[in-house]
């Protein structure tokens, strides 16, 4: 056991070293990508094809409209690909998805949730995976980054009539200049280690004992890498990153964890550079790192200790976990996937220990800001920072300011609505599901674990995470529809509020810091933001957590 603890500390250490090594260059690169006035030759041709002017600065409402239009087009195309699968090439003989599953899948991948109510190897052919799901893995991540950058511009700019950038250009650059190059390199690293990459169909082979088994084919590496890099999380196969063809060994496990955290942890640097005060970026990164380190420590402790009936009978909490990763590698992946909005899993979260499952759920409930999804983590954390300066301002009677912008009534209203949206979707969705017949019918386990299954589902969907306590029979029309709605609300309402906030901030003139300004780069502020995050989430969710994972831990 001692060796396992040291291994756990070792892999955590090497992960932090790797992330630290790329933090400055990647953060600076992303700032250049989103600030440069130059378009590459390819991009110019691209914009001509689309007939858009990439240099036209959009007001926040136009930016939002473009974003919603793009997401609607994505949903429609993905829905069509799912429904028409039987008539398309490379379908491996699979039929089209039924309407509820196609709707849920289309919404799920467009909102960066990647909740999956279908089983990859049993329902999705190669074309649907590549042209449908892989594409949305890229662009839903690029959309999240675009929103975060728009908010950063709102803070950085002064008196611009609510103009916060050009959505078409931000989306294109995020996808082509940031995500695609990293994805190509990452896909080859994964493929070299055993992640499959082919267009072959599944073929029957004879096993060692003479039985028949399917030898799987598929463009997995190319999808796997963007699944984690874009904090999407939708597995090519049903078992997601627990599947040996998605995650063949402990090294790929660490590579996937690294890719999950890569962009979310580098974006605070981009923010610091773009607002012209790198210390602001460090402060945001400090809050993220602090929260995530505590969550990782608790989750690792819970899984290594293995409390509970079945784990103590077995000798360790190995149910639902792979031998090659072990307990420590699994816990680190679990903390990374729920701390971001990824939702990929390398173990079955329904079988986590009760405190481990509780930590995973609480990390998502934080709003996925530690360090959060690609883009969504940064804008979520900036909203909490604005809330913090407001609360601090109330306490000491100073006018709240953040990055030289006054936080007035309009701003704080948007922030308050942002903070309330997702909890409302989680709690209402869960509440409806435990009092209605179709909701109750999907629950696998009786008692508090059953409530945890439902609560995890709506927490995951509303926060656009996508991981599941998969004992819940989520493939029913009821859950497909309800979680689909939760995903839409949890994605686009906060985005609309953030863009409105960005517009208001961009219109303001920057005020120079005075003696009355609360410094937002000191450890005091870092601690305050962390505390505000925990208090807001705690007040919202502790009652329902008490009925689920807490009761289960105490039983």
């Amino acid at each position: 056991m001692t060796a396992t603890v040291w291994a756990a500390i070792g892999q955590f250490g090497i992960l932090l070293v790797l992330l630290a090594a790329v933090h400055l260059p990647l953060g600076a690169y992303m700032a250049r990508v989103y600030s440069s006035p130059h378009h590459t030759r390819v991009e110019r041709a691209w914009y001509r094809t689309l007939r858009v002017d990439p240099d036209a600065e959009q007001r926040w409402s136009t930016y939002l409209l473009s974003l919603l239009g793009f997401s609607l087009a994505s949903v429609l195309l993905l829905y069509a690909l799912g429904r028409l699968q039987a008539h398309l090439p490379w379908n491996l003989g699979f039929s089209g998805l039924d309407p509820a599953t196609a709707w849920n899948t289309a919404v799920s991948f467009t909102t960066n949730t990647n909740w999956q109510s279908y089983s990859g190897e049993a329902a999705a052919g190669h074309l649907l995976q590549m042209a449908g799901l892989t594409v949305q893995n890229f662009v839903s991540a690029a959309v999240g980054m675009a929103v975060a950058i728009a908010l950063v511009r709102g803070l950085a700019r002064s008196g611009t009539d609510a103009r916060i950038g050009n959505f078409w250009s931000d989306l294109t650059r995020g996808a082509l200049r940031i995500l695609l190059p990293i994805a190509v390199v990452g896909a080859l690293v994964l493929a070299a280690n055993g992640v499959i990459q082919s267009l072959d169909p599944h073929t029957a082979i004879t096993t060692i004992t003479g039985e028949t088994q399917q030898a799987l084919g598929g463009p997995v590496a190319s999808q796997e890498v963007i699944k984690v890099l874009g904090t999407n999380g939708g597995g090519f196969f049903n078992a997601n990153s627990a599947h040996p063809f998605e995650n063949p060994n402990a090294l790929t496990n660490l590579v996937e964890i690294f890719l999950i955290l890569l962009i979310p942890s580098a974006l605070p640097r981009t923010f610091g550079l773009m607002v012209g005060d790198r210390r602001q970026g460090w402060a945001i990164l400090g809050v993220m790192t602090g929260l995530w380190t505590v969550a990782t420590g608790l989750l690792t402790w819970a899984e290594l200790a293995g409390p509970g009936l079945a784990p103590s009978l077995a000798g360790a909490a190995m149910e639902g976990k792979e031998a090659r990763f072990g307990l420590a590698g699994t816990a680190l992946f679990g903390a990374a996937t729920t701390g971001t909005s990824t939702g990929a899993v390398d173990s079955m979260h329904d079988s986590l220990t009760a405190p481990g499952g509780g930590v995973a759920m609480f990390t998502m409930m934080l709003g996925e800001v530690a360090p959060g999804g690609v883009g969504s983590g940064l804008y979520g954390m900036l909203v909490l920072a604005v809330l913090t300066v407001f609360i601090a301002g109330l306490m000491v009677g100073r006018t709240p300011e953040y990055a030289g912008k006054k936080i007035g009534r309009g701003e704080i209203t948007l922030v308050a609505l942002y903070v309330l949206t997702v909890p409302a979707a989680v709690l209402l969705g869960s509440a409806i599901s435990v009092v209605t017949g179709p909701g109750l019918a999907g629950i696998q386990e009786a008692g508090p674990h059953g409530l945890s299954e439902v609560l995890y589902a709506f927490t995951s969907a509303s926060n656009n995470n996508g991981s599941a306590f998969a004992g819940l029979a989520a493939g029913t029309p009821y859950f497909n529809t309800m979680t689909g709605l939760a995903m839409l609300v949890g994605r686009f309402v906060p985005i609309a509020l953030v863009l409105a906030l960005a517009g208001r901030l961009a219109s303001q003139n920057t005020v120079p810091a005075s003696a009355g300004t609360l410094p937002t780069h000191r450890p005091l502020f870092v601690g305050l933001v962390g505390a505000v995050t925990l208090v807001v989430v705690g007040l919202t969710f502790i009652p329902v957590l008490s009925l689920g994972p807490v009761v289960e831990s105490l039983s």
Binding site: G69, E121, A131, A191, Q213, A239, P244, G315, M318, S351
Partner: protein, 194 residues
């Protein structure tokens, strides 16, 4: 920009992105993978002495007789919620307090102890728990160790010879601290037959 025009722009952009990221990118990666890592890209297939494909080194198999009982001449893998059906990867998704899971764990412990003629406290955790994928090809070195005598007896081999093969199919922690030491049941059993 008018809403309808926005939607048309969005549709054009979605289509262009689909061509570049949904067709071009996966095909380029497939082409490079086929040239640079052909064995891995095709699924790390393993072959018997006659050159026939008998599985993948990464995907577990079941080693059961026609009546569903474990074959003594093969190392046995972990329990699987998917029955090692490669087309249906899955874990049990049973929670830690699930009564059925607790009963199953106790039953497996008794079965494994009897089958290998060892004490129940010698049975390691991985022998009584199902993996996340249901396709885990690995077992712990402890689980392999308690199976050596049984396999050797069933095959008329010396225990040392079997132990040497187990050692040849055991991997330590990657770089010394990543993951756990493990034995690949698929390649080990194939080597036993070879």
């Amino acid at each position: 920009m008018k809403p309808t025009r926005t939607l048309w722009t969005a549709l054009r952009l979605t289509l262009v992105l689909t061509v570049v990221l949904g067709i071009g990118y996966p095909l380029v990666v497939t082409a490079i993978g086929r040239v640079a890592f052909p064995a891995q890209a095709a699924g790390s297939l393993v072959r018997d002495d006659a050159g026939q494909v008998r599985g993948s080194a990464l995907i577990g198999q079941s080693f059961l007789g026609s009546d569903g009982t474990p074959l003594p001449q093969y190392f046995q893998p972990r329990p699987s919620a998917a029955g090692y059906d490669a087309a249906a990867s899955s874990g049990s998704n049973l929670g830690p307090e699930d009564a059925g899971l607790a009963a199953a764990v106790a039953q497996r412990r008794a079965d494994v102890a009897t089958f290998n003629a060892v004490r129940e406290d010698q049975v390691p955790p991985d022998a009584v728990t199902a993996s996340g994928s249901g396709l885990d090809p690995h077992i712990s070195p402890q689980y392999a160790a308690i199976q050596v005598a049984r396999v050797a007896a069933a095959r008329g081999m010396t225990e040392d010879a079997v132990r040497a093969l187990v050692a040849a199919h055991t991997q330590g922690r990657t770089l010394g601290f990543l993951g756990e030491p493990r034995v690949n049941v698929v390649t080990l059993n194939l080597a036993l037959d070879g």
